[in-house]
Amino acid sequence: MDILYKIFLDPFVQMGTAPDLFVQTLWEGVVGGMLYALIALGFVLIFKASGVFNFAQGIMVVFAALTLVGLYNAGVPAFLALGLTIAVMFALAFAVERIVLRPLINQPDIILFMATFGLTYFLIGFGEFVFGGDPKVMITEQLYLPKGTITYKALGGVVSLQKLDIAAAVIASIMVAGLAVFFSKTRIGRALRAVADSHSAALSVGISLEQIWVIVWFAAGLVALVTGIMWGARSDVSFALDVIALKALPVLILGGLTSIPGAIVGGLIIGVGEKLWEFYWGPLIGGGTDSWFAFVLALVFLLFRPQGLFGERIIERV
């Protein structure tokens, strides 16, 4: 009975008796989840438009952050470095389309998937070659990102929020809202969705696949840059970051591979779930649940809802 009490009741009693801690944990979860969501968003953008599962998305985050910091350390002013990094991400999108996607057009998905593995290792090698492999510090101050904490006395205790996290939340929300409008209301957005639905029909109305691929990879590169800045600000910038990028996989399983709202909601669920689980249930089994919780949750989802929360239902007609 005691163990049942500890699993099913005690955590909720704790949440009720110390609401300040609960809110604090929840907030930490939201912030972590947002970063997962952003990485997943990059995956979804590319998967929707080209059917390619881009394994390199995690590395693109690191690569973007590394380019930004590397340029700054080389003496380029911060905002110019930001502009140049955007240009580098565009050049990367362009090169990927020319060198990787175009020669492999009409090949099976698995070939393209493997090609993104190649891209991953290329970016790691190239990044280390140019900027060095040592961890670097993100230039948050130079980009005028706020610093410090806001502390509220509330809920019978103290809740403290990092200003940087708030800024990250605001910037991420604006970016996602912008992408949503862009996708649903503009010509290029429509063309992107058109390509996602049918290649041949898209070609027949004069949509150029090459152009669309450059645009989605560039969009995914921009998302990667924003993610990289936010993430780099919380730890530091190194290739160790890409391990965390693997957390985007359970997010995708939860949200569905083709859904942008799915990526957001999935990211938040995983982020919040992970933190709450670790804080309230973790002690029962000795902690360290961060590393597996997301994957177990994804496994449960695979059993009951394999298409994800928002994914398209897979119906095979015979």
């Binding site: 010509r187 429509r190 969705r193 996602a196 041949s200 070609l203 027949s204 109305v205 004069g206």
Partner: protein, 266 residues
């Protein structure tokens, strides 16, 4: 406009001509040495038994396939290698045998997608969805609403097309092609899988498009009644070879055509 029989039914100048085109996939010859032309303002049918190379021919015309031999001249310009994008740009629109729509998008968005090449606002303005980009959206939306009225699909404009019945999907697909304001419209079996009433509706739309917009139409169709009623001239393919070309009446009497359709005793 439709002349009554006679060899000279052609309405205008040659819009597109196909000369000695051959296409093969590996060792399989899909089209061999086929020549014909399409004249401005006419309805041209391509018919033939299954596997005759009709769809391949259409795919060659709009740049999906590159023929190994032969030339294609469109609007007086002989083209070397042409991609579907260039074909669309030059004014060739098409529909597909098995309806290729953007399934997740609404009927309205599908037809708007047909306006892609007519819209020019830059990436920057589109990101903001303001200024030129917004003006352009509104302007093209008006044109699309006209097409929607023309095809009588007002009630379904907000429905994702994946949920529509087949006949309506075909109509939306026609709408998307019309939104491109094409000079040459290629229809790959526009009435396949339809019931009689739907076929009649679609036939009327095809004739109306031809009359109202003056669009030149090339269609592939299996229903001989439909072909004979609609088309000005018919080209008949069998096993990738052209076996007849002429008015519906001429083709109907052609011995080779009768043989291809009914089989000949060997």
């Amino acid at each position: 406009m439709r002349a009554a029989g006679g060899p000279d039914v052609a309405v205008g100048d040659v819009l597109l001509s196909v000369e000695n085109v051959s296409l093969s996939f590996g060792g399989v010859r899909a089209v061999s040495d086929v020549s014909f032309d399409i004249r401005k303002g006419e309805i041209r049918a391509i018919i033939g038994p299954n596997g005759a190379g009709k769809t391949s021919m259409l795919n060659v015309i709009n740049g999906f396939y590159q023929p190994q031999e032969g030339r294609i001249t469109f609007k007086g310009q002989t083209r070397a290698k042409m991609r579907p994008h260039d074909a669309a740009y030059g004014g060739i629109a098409r529909t597909f045998q098995n309806v290729a729509l953007f399934r997740g998008m609404t009927a309205l968005d599908n037809i708007m997608a047909g306006r892609t090449l007519k819209m020019h606002a830059s990436f920057f303005w589109q990101l903001l969805r303001y200024g030129p980009a917004l003006r352009e959206e509104v302007e093209h939306r008006e044109h699309v609403e006209e097409i929607i009225d023309f095809l009588k699909i007002q009630e379904i404009r907000r429905v994702p097309v994946g949920r529509l019945p087949y006949g309506l999907q075909k109509r939306v697909e026609l709408g998307r092609a019309l939104a491109m304001e094409p000079e040459l419209l290629l229809l790959d079996e526009p009435m396949a899988g339809m019931n009689l009433e739907e076929k009649e509706d679609m036939s009327r739309f095809v004739l109306d498009v031809n009359d109202h917009y003056g669009t030149t139409i090339t269609l592939i169709e299996h229903d001989m009644g439909v072909v004979m009623d609609l088309s000005d001239r018919v080209v008949v393919l069998d096993h990738g070879i052209k076996i007849a070309d002429g008015t519906p009446d001429e083709v109907k009497r052609n011995q080779a055509v009768i043989g291809a359709y009914l089989g000949v005793a060997h």
